[in-house]
């Protein structure tokens, strides 16, 4: 159950107007207007994001930092402005607590590797949950293997929610906790603050995988008091290839550097190399300037709509979707039935139909959903299913698209039944 999310009232979003900002939504697939319900995999990008990146390339493209010349200076300012927007969006105390990475996956790997190197020893535990994305499992397995540490798992119940009754016990011997705010396979919103507080009471730091949270909910790192937070640009209406790692200054200062190279060092000689200050200590090599500027523009876009308004609109749509899908014969919803416990995602099966078959026939009707294990195999094992069909929403998703989905499922089920 989520801690206590309130749904914003007031100003409503004009979804039809918003859709005009996303040219790809006018695409036709197999003769049908596209219904894009694979937003948990990646969201579409508003024109403003593409324009920001184009503008960068056409007017100021230049390598950042260290440059004396004008373009480099302007490019550096624009790039660092991207970082500032992100810092403001997640309300981090310092801008230098925002590190650019290649994606959520790299952010988690960075923490697993650097934290593990310094703080993990044989017999230590890492606590993750049973509903994690592979990207929040495998890095921990890898460092655990290296350090002879162990991965312990918070179990989930039939409704797809974490079982936290024994949390105190689960935390015994644990050196770091890592779990997702919102599950990409089930849509469950986890009680992040409750878990973080419990971990902190025992002095254990927490990494929150917010890959499926930042686009749907207000995420405030100071309010959550979380130690590390990871997310991807491409799921937040931003460009591909970029991710963010937020870390509390004190933690980032304690970790050894991750990769070596340009930017992350102060001085280099073959005898001795000294590392740079935050955030550069963790940013080896030429950064993704256009990406950072693009993500900055995506955040501007989201801020302009208002993340609370987005949350409210998506919640309303989720209520409608759960209701609509419940009316389909044989449809089995995987995970919570209460819309307040969910964000963005509905995962389901229909009768004995294989998710692949259903996905294929939805596709041929122009409806893009994802099928399979959604990189969260342990969940599928938990439910003893080969996978699910997952429909996932974004701010531009309409009730009409949910209707198209329902009609598509019915048509496919008839053929496959």
């Amino acid at each position: 159950m989520p801690d206590s999310l309130t749904i914003a009232e007031g100003r409503k979003l004009d979804i039809q107007k918003i859709r005009k900002d996303f040219p790809i939504l006018e695409t036709t697939v197999y003769g049908h207007p596209l219904v894009y319900l694979d937003n948990a995999a990646t969201t579409q990008k508003p024109k403003a994001v593409l324009k920001a990146m184009d503008d960068y390339y056409v007017t100021i493209n230049s390598n950042v930092h260290r440059g004396v010349h004008h373009l480099s200076q302007v490019a550096t300012d624009a790039y660092e402005a991207g970082r500032k927007k992100i810092a403001a969006y997640i309300n981090s105390r310092h801008t230098h607590e925002v590190i650019f990475t290649r994606g959520t996956t790299e952010s988690i790997n960075l923490v697993a590797a650097c934290f593990g190197k310094k703080f993990l020893a044989a017999g230590d535990y890492i606590l993750v949950s049973a509903m994690e994305h592979h990207s929040n499992i495998v890095p921990w397995q890898m460092i655990a293997e290296e350090k002879a540490a162990k991965v312990r798992v918070i179990p989930i119940d039939e409704k797809g929610e974490l079982i936290l009754d024994n949390l105190e016990k689960l935390l015994e011997g644990v050196k770091i906790v890592a779990f997702n705010y919102v599950s990409n396979a089930l849509g469950t919103i986890n009680p992040a603050k409750t878990i973080i507080d419990a971990a902190h009471r025992q002095g254990i730091p927490v990494l929150l995988d917010a890959a499926q949270a930042v686009q749907h909910l207000t995420v405030d790192v100071q309010d959550l008091d979380v130690d590390f937070l990871a997310f991807s640009s491409h799921k937040l209406y931003g460009p591909t290839g970029l991710g963010v790692l937020y870390g509390k200054e004190e933690w980032l200062n304690k970790l050894p550097p991750y990769q070596g190279g340009g930017e992350m060092i102060k001085t280099v000689s073959f005898e001795k190399t000294t590392y740079n200050d935050l955030p550069y200590k963790f940013e080896a090599g030429t950064p993704d300037m256009a990406g950072a500027i693009g993500l900055g523009a995506a955040i501007d876009y989201v801020q302009q709509l208002g993340i609370e308004q987005i949350h409210a609109a998506e919640h309303e749509l989720m209520v409608y979707a759960l209701d609509t899908l419940a009316g389909i014969d044989g449809l089995r919803l995987i995970g919570a039935t209460d819309a307040r416990h969910r964000a963005g995602v509905v995962s389901f099966l229909v009768g004995n139909i294989h998710p692949f078959d259903l996905g294929e026939l939805l596709d041929k009707q122009g409806i893009a959903v994802r099928t399979g294990h959604h990189c969260a195999q342990p969940i599928m094992d938990r439910y003893c299913i080969p996978g699910t069909v997952r429909a996932s929403m974004a701010v531009y998703t309409t009730p009409e698209e949910i209707d198209r989905l329902a009609a598509g499922i019915r048509k496919a089920a008839k053929l496959l039944g």
Binding site: P355, F356, D357, G359, E360, K364, G387, L415, L416
Partner: protein, 144 residues
């Protein structure tokens, strides 16, 4: 019928369908005609793992020809396998290993053969070809 002729026939059959749903209805129907793999062979050893659906495949060698039986947990995959087996089963290893599978493309399902779409079909065609190559090598050695 030769492999070529069989493919031509399938291509001609599919020309009737202008609508995707009708096409798939036909494919699903064809799945029901698939020579099913004997239960004893439905093991890990005969499993071709796709990311999305699974396929079990078995080959019998009789009178210089290869005969295939198979199954899948997804009905569309099953229909497609049924077509592949219809085309390739009952031919000599050489014919099979020389054969160019063009009907899948021609009936508009090429995406199922894309290496980036691991639904088991591409792996299955590869597996069939591997059987053929293996038996061809065997019979060449026997002839020497």
């Amino acid at each position: 019928m030769t492999i070529q002729e069989q493919q031509d026939e399938i291509i001609a059959d599919f020309e009737y369908f202008s609508d995707w749903m009708d096409k798939y209805e036909h494919i699903i129907q064809l799945g029901k005609e698939l020579p099913l793999i004997d239960a004893q062979y439905k093991t890990e050893e005969h499993l071709i793992r796709g990311c999305q659906s699974q396929v079990w495949l078995h080959a019998d060698y009789r009178d210089g020809k290869l005969f295939f039986t198979a199954d899948s947990d997804a009905v569309i995959t099953k229909g497609l396998i049924s077509l592949v087996i219809k085309v390739l089963s009952g031919h000599t290893p050489k014919e099979i290993s020389d054969a160019e599978i063009r009907f899948i493309d021609a009936i508009g399902l090429s995406s199922h053969l894309s290496p980036t779409r691991s639904n088991g079909l591409l792996s299955m065609v590869k597996q069939i070809k591997m059987y053929a190559v293996a038996y061809q090598a065997k019979s060449q050695i026997a002839q020497q």
